[in-house]
């Protein structure tokens, strides 16, 4: 699927093509404003910006970023140096994405930006201006787990769980991209997510299982 198609879906108010629905998953941190799009128009974010708590210290190069996180409009002032991962974890209270290397070498920080999986540690927060970010917190529909989440439980595709949010976000993308068509292909396209506990066999089994339930694969 091309990027253009994602954008089109986004414009229709769909979070992504992954069968996700927008939910109020964003936890409010001290320095952010989260506005539910279902109750307020997009312009209200500007008004809400007045209520945003400032950064604890004004950096040399501050930047106002407006983006959508798990379906919620977020407007937040950042230091230009901030990564998407640090924005999520340290400013927005979304700690599902994990820091394992901070250099794009482990995959624990994987989130979706505009429908594609990326390493959030190596993505400047400035770059998600106007974009749509989906994290592990935005994957399930309330208490109903995404089929990939359920499959990870069923196949014990995790141990310590630290790489798991990144694995699952990568795995969902792997299926949607059409790269979950064989065990070999899954292994290749999941190799950007290191599981030091060594749950790889379970991860591959879980993706095969979920792919059939997601209607792709």
């Amino acid at each position: 699927m091309s990027k253009d198609e994602w954008v089109e879906e986004s414009d229709k108010g769909q979070c992504s093509g992954f069968g996700l629905t927008r939910r109020d998953t964003l936890k409010s941190g001290a320095a952010i404003v989260a506005v539910s799009l279902s109750t307020q128009g997009p312009n209200s974010a500007e008004a809400a910006a007045d209520r945003a708590a400032p950064l604890p210290v004004t950096p040399q190069y501050p930047l106002l970023v407006r983006t959508t996180v798990n379906g919620e409009m977020v407007e937040v002032e950042i230091d230009t140096r901030t990564s998407v991962l640090d924005l999520l974890r340290e400013r927005l209270g979304l700690t599902g994405a994990k820091k394992g290397c901070d250099h794009g070498q482990c995959g624990a920080c994987t989130v979706h930006v505009d429908g594609r999986r990326v390493a959030s540690c190596l993505t400047l927060a400035a770059k998600v201006e106007g974009g749509e970010v989906v994290t592990i917190e935005g994957l399930s529909d309330g208490d109903n787990l995404h089929p990939m989440q359920q499959a990870f439980i069923d196949h014990d595709a995790l141990q310590c769980g630290y790489c798991t949010p990144g694995q699952i976000m990568a795995a969902v993308a792997c299926v949607v991209e059409g790269n979950a068509t064989s065990r070999e292909r899954i292994r290749e396209y999941m190799s950007g997510n290191i599981c030091r506990c060594g749950a790889y066999a379970g991860i591959v089994a879980a993706i095969e299982d979920a792919a059939s339930k997601m209607g792709r694969g």
């Binding site: 210290v57 950096p59 790889y200």
Partner: protein
Amino acid sequence: MNTASFPDRARVDARDKVLGATVYPGDVPVARILHAMTVPSRIAKGTLTALDTSAAMRVPGVVRVLTPDDFPSPAPVSEDGPPPPPPTLEWRIAYRGQPIALVVAETLEAAIEGAEAVRPSYAPEPFAALIDSEDSERDPGEDVVFGNAEVALSSAATTVEATYVSPTQHHNPIELLVTTAVWEDGRLTIYECTQSSAGTRGATARALRLDPAIVDVKSAYIGGGFGQKGGIGQRQTALVAQAAMLLGRPVKIVMPRGQIFHLATYRPHSRHHVRLGADANGKMTAAVYDAEQEQSRHGFFPCAEYHESTCRLYGIENYRGTAADIRIDRQPPGWMRAPHPQAACFAFESAVDELAHKLGRDPVTLRLANDSRIDHRTGNPYSSRFVNECLEEGARRFGWSRRTPEPGSMTASDGTQIGWGVACGAYPSMMVPAIATLRIGADGSTRYAVSGHEMGQGIRTAIAAVLLEGLEIDPDRLEIVIGDTTAAPQHITAGSWGTAGAIPATAKAVARMREAMRELLAGREIAGNLHRQLSTVRRPFLQIEVSEVGPGQGPEALQALRRGAYAVAGPEYPNFTTMSYIAHFVEVHIEPRTRRVRVPRVVSIADCGRVISPRTAASQVRGGVVWALSAALREATEIDPRYGGYLNNDLADYVVAVNADIREIDVGFIDRPDPLANSTGLKGLGEVAMVGASPAIANAIFHATGKRLRELPIRIEHLL
């Protein structure tokens, strides 16, 4: 003893983990938090003569730079007291990467920029970075001797002799070292990914001269430990705690991986000279094994333990083992998954394979013929030992009988060389004391607090399995509190003794609770689960406390536990020895030209006594096999002796196995309870899972190619 098998049960904390809702220490929400960053030393040895922090303090957002002057002098060390805590900040530099300052700032970005702006001055000194470096210092450890190995070796019909080498390796759990310290109302609370919350409390209190009673440590979930987060304590803890106390605000550090390589422990590079002798029937009669390892100047990772497993793999009656530290100027090495047996059994099980080849014997048959009921080191019997059963079941599942013995004889038509290898592993099965509190509420809640740390091995799931097997309680409202010094006395969780510590205590708690319920109900028959029963008799809750110690341990073990001290029993118990065992069967494929080694399938059968949590246990074994494959074919930390420090200090250049490296791993268990080791019949598993799989790979490579490779990791250049 109840010997029934436990049913398959999902991992109890898996739901939170797949939701990203599990709170690791770096995820704990704390208001007004400050971010800290360490400044690593750029010299490998010498003195820090000055620290210019003025530029760092000018960075907007930096609130303080801590230097050695901000810390008390090192705590005095007493002979029979606990090991010294990790040093704080010091003017003396003992290794490259040693933290020399801590920058604390309002934002992470400012802390990082501030740390880069600190300007140190040094007086460097010559240093030894490798065991072959000029200033290295040999320090012999204790010998392990029984029988007369030299005499037996000289009269052996067949002998083999070789030297094997294992590299420096780093644990690299995906979670970084994370500490959050909160100083509030005269109490210091530390959230840290530690395998030893009580040890962290004690070490921090000693380093900062605090009363341990005012320090709480919480380590509810660890994002992978593998020994890195236990052992001798983490050096950043006291730094961050001191910063929090000086500044009166919570402080968090998430240490960059490059720095972790330089400051955390690691598996030391080691060399192993092995001589084996066998009689004409293939009975192994003698082993002489000399081990040496790299060691820091004052490190205490014990070299003699290379013999713990190798002297008990087979019924060898004459054994002489020596061990030595080679002291150099690096940070201390430590316990990394299957600490000594990984390297020792790579050497020993490779040597056994060489012996089998020289004898013309099948390597499985040779091993089967060398079983023993007796631990010749102590003369005591093994409490249980099913290593031959592991070999037999593994050989059956693997299809070993179809193997042709000649090296290179299984080459495929496209030139791919195929090899089948086998090796065994053993690991001491140890036990630690535990004090547990179980409280069942009429409101449907159950709270169970015990010693233990969850790092993915599944200890919560194993505990839940025992509680839910024995008590009719609501599983959804079962809270298992571990790794928390405020909830129960905590022992370090390592050495595969986690379940052996927590599970017998849990079984005892279940029995005590049932008894307490019987007393409470006094013969009344009340329908429903325990919560319902309590509610019916108008009892808000029922709480019991139990304690358990290992065989041969008494009340002093419980006192040690309460102090946060080390209180391990085994593997030598008063009248018996207890070891866990495993047999690994490995198939390798080696490309005809570019010589990449693939491992399409592994069969691993473990004897860990009674299996408490089948699903997580199987995952543990698969993980151990992945570790062994990664250790055998991928991982080595590189040190340029001219500079010290670690060159490949990230996950791009320190190459661990990725998904595409791993194919089928078939895991089985003997699942027969050990009758003596503890009341539940279990033995340790997490470490033994890895032991022996690396030599099985090396042995398979020999079978595929005829080439005996005695140094890990085995890489492409060794097979061209």
